[in-house]
Symmetry: C2
Subunit: 578 residues, 2 copies
């Protein structure tokens, strides 16, 4: 299919998703999920939760989307989460300046990494024009635009806040409390599924680049020295890898490695990342991604976030392009260390030694009655400098006098006035800042990829049919119930059948409009795997027709056995096995 | 228990909820749900969805939380969604001015309804002081502060937006599309569970008055003339009602009415509202609300929203106060009518007549070659005025001349120049603006009420025990698994048992820290209904001990039968029946 137009039309007509507020002219980058899309999205989230939270024994939290500024000062988002924009003097439209440069200048494909000044020069040198009105952009300033939505918490502007750009920070910030729930023992994982926001300058391509989206993130806190993922059970899992080296090679492409091979060859640097690449494959398959249109791509050195050591993206192929649907990052201790610096709490875990250790510690206890009169205002700073010198280099106290630096000045004093001593202490453990392994899934992009990959046409009874071959587990409706006609009690009977299936916990829809063929087509288009028809035979023998979406095969099933039969079909049974 | 301190402490210590960003000094009105609270909240949402969406056959959507200004111009929120504030000149603190007045002036308990000017006068007359610093507030202006969080969509400030104050507008705005999914047939219901925001001046009382919260709203679109709720099946349901009249009576209290009695006596004015009051009772019971501490309270005329005809709140009793947990409003056609006026789309449904009707329509077709020269600039307006006059009062065209008013001017012209005619037309139906019945649930307040109502202490083995008697369906953990000791293979065996229960789809936790008694207490505190202990007998006969939270009774169950046994317990079986 052509992804863009056909799918957008289907998505809108059948209620998967559509641009929000179209009656008010629409709002770029904001989409509403209709009944079918919201159900599909929820089902995909449920599969994610089942695998990455429940089965894995991890915790899940819900933090606010409105977050005070201090958190993003620490995380670095206030400083670095921005795009370069240029505004047209003529028409006032704003554009992503780095994208203009990439489109206009041959050989430049990483303009995002350039300084704004250099971008502005390139805009002028190539005499670029405003894409909206054609006026020249030469000489216009290139600014950095922070992509967080800003707001104020409470009246006035004294408490600025932002809509979170990722759900992760809501976990990192609360680490001091979350570790208590994990009994202060590494490793442990904390997940969150929720909205995140990015005030895009140029939203595009339906659910791919939007201003409000849903993330499913897992933050796995591990001891960098002692915790290792269980590689053995996944060692033979085959990963479709598009490594940095392959990307640099002229004719490089995706290559298949087992987890073991990828680690041995150093293609994947972190065994935690390799573990999650392997674990996630089953998830993508389960929700309906076409694994022939899927790969793991390594970030090139220039792409890496400031905090990340090795990062891989899961990508799906959509209409010839590859789209990131998940990021797998080894975030090291960056996030917890930064919050530890900025916030009033301990972002560490106490790691108990197997045996208590006896350690020597050099300490000072300066004689302030000497330092005060001698160094005046600098006395306190000199005291601190002595303390850190003792911890750093105790040999400096070997002689009679010791010299410390405070800013650009240095001060010398007799060692006997420093109270220098070396003590023996018994320590039972040490404080460790955990490292973070983060698989971060974009739920909307997964929904979109599944729709594109599962959408297809075939021929049924000589007519072209459009269908959505969704796995039963994620399909919005599991079973649709039709009365053959809305008379002779068929509709009442069908209503009872639908009610019984609903009571059994299934997602059921009921349709009595139009002819049966048209109703099948409608269910095929929204991916309903099974349809049940109540006809005149039903009134005689209490059986119904069950029809399977993909094969269009049909069979008769007793009404009493129907909920069980549908359950078995969802579990993988074929019609013939019922 | 004392609701505030004990529960806040338990909620924090055990991971139900806690103030967000405490490491950064906290942010009033923003809470994070910890692992236990997020699970409880999610389970309550699942029960709501099961009853109000799935079983009822309604649709569910997901709309963005960031909404452009035009939507709130239409909905009225931009104009009226505000509180009165006064700012202290001395310390800069802001306060709710109406609350200050209510606290200081005897007999005033509805200051919210006063004009800001009157509030300012009362503040001055009573010489009120700033609650923060004690400075006088006399003479300070009282302003209206809009409670929506504002932001900008895209760069610059040309596209203002707001965080939605209710999920409902995301449904109303998309009505023109949603009705298509309902095959243009009333009645149909559209639900949404999601975040909503209210930039409170003075957030308070944990999850009760917060700045970011979760709503579960159902908008039931009905034909005001023809659609009636199925009252018969609920006619005998008993409702604990605290009506407007009882509230005005000196010694009035909650009275029990059946649905039929309440409607016959006119206590509940709308049968749709009565229907939902009845339907919702089962929901509150199912999630664990103490129905002895529950009532339905009618809004007094002064409390009613501008759009609502009859509104009832469900209220739970918490520490002596009654807290609104749900609003049941008959919103009439207000919302759809407003959007129909402001937006470029049809917010109506076409109602087919049983038989086509022949109707007479009076129309005009003014002779503009006469109106133009005669009335100049006013000609077009005169034409429009003629059109609406013909529709309104065709007798005005009975004479030779007709007079129409345009603003303050009136214009007279010969009837023959108006092209007046009466036509017969056959119409197959008419456009109707549906009415809206809205049950709107505050999820956080429900979570909080359930925690308060289910929290209690009793005595077990001579020691006081704290427990949370949550229904199994909403408990964060369904079953906890303990090895008696972490040696002799007991822990490995317990790990296998936990894995088997997880594979069966249950919410399982595993705990091997501290003695068994302490582990039971810990699970009792978070409301886990069943605990399973693997002991030395397990190694002999493959059975485990199952212990029930509320009775603390225990029994032995074969490991093979364990998932089934837990399922039966959750379904209502007793230990003795296993």
């Amino acid at each position: 299919m052509t992804e863009r137009s056909d799918l957008a039309e289907l998505a809108k007509r059948r209620g998967f998703f559509f641009p929000a507020n179209e009656a008010y002219g629409g709002t770029a980058g904001l989409y509403t999920y209709g009944p079918e899309g919201a159900a599909l999205k929820r089902n995909i989230e449920a599969v994610w939760r089942d695998q990455f939270v429940r089965a894995a024994g991890h915790m899940e939290v819900e933090s606010p989307t409105v977050v005070p500024e201090a958190v993003f000062e620490a995380s670095g988002h206030l400083e670095t989460f921005d795009d370069m924009i240029v505004e047209c003097a003529e028409c006032g439209a704003t554009h992503r300046a780095d994208h203009l440069v990439e489109n206009a200048v041959p050989d430049v494909d990483d303009a995002e990494a350039f300084a704004p000044r250099r971008i502005a020069d390139l805009v002028a040198d190539h005499d670029m024009a405003c894409p909206s009105c054609g006026a020249s952009l030469a000489g216009r300033p290139v600014d950095e635009f922070n992509l967080m939505f800003g707001t104020n918490i409470g009246p006035g502007s004294s408490s600025p806040g932002y809509l979170r750009p990722e759900t992760a920070q809501g976990i990192f910030v609360e680490f001091p409390r979350l570790k208590e729930y994990a009994h202060n023992q590494l490793p442990f994982g904390v997940a969150q599924i929720g909205r995140a926001y990015r005030n895009e300058i140029a939203p595009r391509r339906a659910l791919v680049r939007v201003r409000e989206f849903t993330q499913a993130e897992l933050e796995h806190f591990v001891d960098p020295e002692f915790d290792e993922p269980p590689i053995a059970p996944v060692a033979d899992v085959e990963l479709p890898l598009y490594g940095a080296e392959a990307q640099r090679a002229d004719a490089g492409g995706t290559e298949t490695y087992t987890v073991r091979e990828a680690l041995d060859a150093g293609v994947v640097g972190s065994d935690w990342v390799a573990y999650y690449l392997a674990e996630s494959l089953a998830f993508y398959e389960r929700i309906g991604i076409d694994m022939e249109r899927f790969r793991y791509r390594q970030h090139l050195p220039g792409e890496l976030s400031h905090y990340a050591a090795d990062t891989w993206d899961a990508e799906t192929e959509l209409g010839g392009d590859w789209i990131e649907v998940t990021g797998f990052a080894y975030r090291s201790d960056y996030d917890l260390r930064k919050h530890g610096e900025y916030a009033e709490a301990e972002y560490t875990v106490f790691r108990q030694y197997d045996e208590p250790k006896t350690v020597e510690r050099a300490t000072v206890d300066p004689d302030m009655s000497y330092l005060g009169p001698t160094f005046g205002d600098a006395a306190a700073d000199v005291g601190e400098a002595l303390e850190s010198l003792a911890a750093r280099d105790r040999s400096a106290f070997d002689g009679d006098a010791v010299t410390v630096a405070v800013g650009e000045d240095s001060y010398t004093l007799p060692v006997e006035k420093t109270g220098f001593a070396v003590e023996e202490r018994t320590e039972s453990g040490e404080h460790v800042t955990p490292h973070v392994v983060e698989p971060s899934f974009g739920v909307g992009r997964l929904v979109y990829s599944v729709l594109v990959h599962r959408h297809g046409t075939d021929e049924v009874d000589g007519e072209e049919r459009t269908s959505l071959a969704l796995p039963a587990e994620v399909a919005p409706t599991t079973v649709a119930v039709f009365p053959l006609m809305t008379k002779d009690g068929l509709d009442d009977r069908a209503g009872e059948v639908a009610a019984a299936l609903r009571a059994a916990g299934l997602a059921v829809s009921y349709d009595d409009t139009g002819n049966i063929g048209r109703r099948y087509r409608r269910q095929d288009e929204v991916g309903t795997p099974y349809c049940v028809t109540v006809d005149y035979d039903t009134l005689e023998d209490d059986t119904v027709t069950v029809r399977e979406r993909d094969s269009t095969d049909q069979t008769r099933v007793a009404i009493d056995d129907l909920p069980g039969a549908i359950d078995r079909l969802v579990g993988g049974a074929t019609l013939a096995e019922l």
